[in-house]
């Protein structure tokens, strides 16, 4: 008996030794990789090179320890996948369970409401402004979620509709002095029209081809705005756009930012209600069916053309609306705000949050927009950490933070 236990212990020790060896190699690799930026520093004033060996030590120890965590997480994930395959994964994500239970649900919503209402009065104008931006991205994410998450149409040019909304407010305000509230529906309608315009030529395409065409469309809109000086004032953009008023009252800067914040809260709630109703409706189910299997979807009597157009147009409507708000918030727009990077960001929100899941998209938007802001403390490493978090998220939760859950029905019989 004693011998057996010793043998077991020995095997365990061997595994440990192997793991340590692996981690050691990882740490050497990382030290090598980060050597140029972490160790060498050229001091141009005294014209000497500083060798910061301490940094190398920190990187080495840090990566050595983190590699253990990494491997542990990978193992855990694999175990989770196995459980899911055998179909015995009764375990759902914590947040999902909380949402399903009514007694958690009500206090949670009340708490969130209190935080949302108190936020602009407790924090600075800067914080409120960041939060407003995050709320805008929530709505953009939810809009793109209709196209990408529900209907499964990979749209890389979503920012084009955002630009359409922003420019429609800026131009109508500049030329005709139209106010925010009258342009908001116009922006939505223009977004819708452009959605249909893009929808028609891409109806036959799917997957990668669709992605490339939408990417091209996004670039076309941006380039038109950049080069058609008579129409859009080119790269210099349009300044002095009116902030939203309230029945003719113009606010001070502080009040206007709080006003915009609550306006966005309202729009977010409205969007959540709409998307939630849509995804459990006849149209929403058709979108998901289209995503799952186009041929079968058509064979079951769903008009592919109409369904795709609806998804495109509806997604674009939301982008148009947020575009109007964006122009009103910044009071200055130029084509530089509507680059491909913006589309990629919104797409990341949807994918990172969880395709088709409303809560996931909200959390995704908050993380992706607020994180870079609050990481400013780390100055130089801000984008590095941001990128690392995105990579880690996709490795460990490829289905997004919150996977989409489908509605369940209860029957008495």
């Amino acid at each position: 008996m004693g011998g057996l236990r010793l043998k077991k212990f020995r095997i365990q020790l061997m595994i440990k030794a192997q793991e340590i060896k692996k981690s050691f190699l990882v740490s050497i690799w990382f030290m090598f990789l980060t050597f140029p930026i972490m160790v060498i520093r050229v001091n141009p004033i005294e014209e000497v090179i500083e060798w910061r060996w301490k940094n190398m030590l920190i990187v080495g120890i840090g990566s050595f320890l983190l590699s253990f965590v990494w491997r542990y997480m990978l193992k855990k994930r694999e175990a989770g996948e196995k459980r899911a395959e055998t179909g015995e994964s009764g375990k759902t994500f914590l947040i999902q369970r909380i949402l399903e239970e009514r007694r958690f649900y009500i206090p949670l919503v009340t708490g969130l409401t209190i935080i949302a209402v108190a936020f602009p009065f407790t924090f600075s104008m800067y914080q409120t402004s960041i939060m407003t931006t995050a709320l805008m991205y929530i709505v953009l994410g939810l809009g793109l979620n209709i196209v990408v998450g529900l209907a499964g149409l990979l749209d890389l040019g979503y920012v084009a509709f955002y630009a359409v909304g922003a420019y429609s407010y800026a131009l109508l305000n500049y030329h005709f002095g139209l106010g925010f509230w009258s342009v908001l529906p116009i922006g939505a309608v223009l977004g819708f029209i452009f959605g249909v315009l893009l929808g028609f030529p891409v109806l036959r395409l799917r997957g990668d081809y669709l992605a490339i065409v939408t990417l091209g469309f996004g670039e076309i809109i941006r380039l038109v705005l950049e080069n058609w000086n008579e129409f859009s004032f080119g790269p210099s953009g349009i300044a002095n756009i009116d902030r939203p008023g309230f029945f003719g009252i113009q606010f001070s800067l502080q009040a206007a930012s709080i006003y915009l914040y609550f306006l966005m809260i309202g729009l977010v709630i409205f969007t959540i209600i709409v998307v939630n109703r849509l995804q459990n409706s006849r149209i929403g189910r058709a979108w998901i069916a289209l995503r799952e299997d186009e041929t079968a979807c058509q064979a079951m009597g769903i008009d592919k053309t109409k369904t795709k157009l609806r998804a495109f147009a509806l997604g674009a409507t939301w982008a148009g609306m947020v575009g109007v708000i964006f122009a009103a918030k910044t009071t200055f727009i130029n084509p530089a705000s509507f680059t491909f990077l913006e589309s990629a960001m919104i797409l990341s929100i949807v994918v990172l949050g969880g395709m088709g899941s409303i809560l996931g998209v909200i959390i995704g938007a908050l993380i992706l927009i607020l994180l870079p802001e609050y990481l400013r403390a780390f100055s130089d490493y801000r984008m590095l950490i941001f990128g690392a978090i995105m990579v880690i998220m996709m490795v460990f939760r490829p289905q997004g933070i919150i996977a989409n859950i489908r509605r369940t029905y209860k029957f008495d019989e």
Binding site: R282, I283, D293, T295, C297, M300, L314, T408
Partner: protein
């Protein structure tokens, strides 16, 4: 021969032909997958299309359900109580709406939707609420939604998979997936159900249950069935008439008794007998 044509016409009127395929051909480049095919299905019958692999059976299904546009020929349907119509070149969804629903040989369920939702998709072409009514969710929309759920659940009960109602389609056992495909097609309220190898991959027990299910659908729901099937036992016990295809042609047609003894059919399946 005018008299012959008149006779066919008369017979059709008496027998109530619901699907008529005339002279159907389908070319893929230089390959002729269907070669002047004639076929008809009579109301209330279970008809089977059999033939060796590559005979063009699934191509035939794809032509009559609108996935392919046939090169030549006519496809006519006459739904019970309605006029005869040509459906060549119509889109699949239009044909489904006209009352011909199908299943697929390689199961094509919406895997990330629940069982009930899969069936509810079938109700799409029989309901009408759009974006605005979905957002407003008025009384009529709520009622329509409830009707869809109830209707779909009843179909699940009929097909014997109602206990799986909230499962994801991808997590279903194989036999249940086949049943769900039939349930989904049934939800479109077809007058003619097209089954593409419904028993493929099923064990004998499951096949027996399928036999019973198909008979029940015909008898209780008053729908006609046209199926492609390789399981000869099932074909012989179920079908009223059998069409045999080989190399894109129809080589024989008749009752199971006729077919089983037909030398042309035996030749197609087993090859030429050297002694004969």
């Amino acid at each position: 021969m005018p008299t012959y044509a008149a006779l066919i016409n008369l017979m059709n009127r008496i027998m109530n032909t619901i699907l008529e395929v005339k002279n159907l051909s389908m070319n893929f480049g230089g390959l002729r997958a269907l070669n002047h095919l004639d076929l008809n299905v009579v109301e209330g019958e279970i008809a089977a299309v059999i033939g060796p692999n590559g005979a063009g059976k699934t191509t035939f299904f794809n032509c009559i359900t609108g996935i392919y546009n046939p090169t030549e020929g006519e496809i006519l349907i006459s739904p019970p109580g309605k006029k005869r119509k040509k459906i060549n070149g119509l889109k699949p969804n239009r044909i489904t709406k006209k009352g011909m629903a199908r299943t697929f040989q390689n199961i094509r369920l919406f895997s990330n939707m629940t069982v009930l939702e899969n069936v509810m998709i079938g109700r799409h072409c029989r309901t009408s609420s759009g974006i605005v009514s979905a957002i407003l969710r008025g009384r009529s929309t709520i009622k329509e939604e409830k009707d869809v759920v109830d209707f779909s659940y009843n179909i699940l009960k009929k097909t014997g998979i109602s206990h799986l109602v909230n499962e994801f389609a991808k997590n279903l056992p194989y036999g249940a997936q086949r049943r769900l495909e039939i349930a989904r097609a049934m939800a479109t309220e077809p007058f003619l159900l097209l089954l593409d190898e419904p028993a493929a991959g099923m064990n004998p027990q499951e096949t027996r249950e399928l036999d019973e299910l198909i008979t029940r659908l015909r008898d209780e729901d008053n729908i006609s069935i046209l199926m492609i099937e390789h399981d000869m036992k099932l074909v012989m016990s179920l079908s009223d008439r059998i069409f045999v295809m080989d190399y894109g042609r129809k080589i024989a047609q008749g009752t199971p008794g006729d077919i089983i003894n037909n030398p042309v059919v035996i030749k197609a399946y087993l090859g030429e007998d050297i002694d004969a």
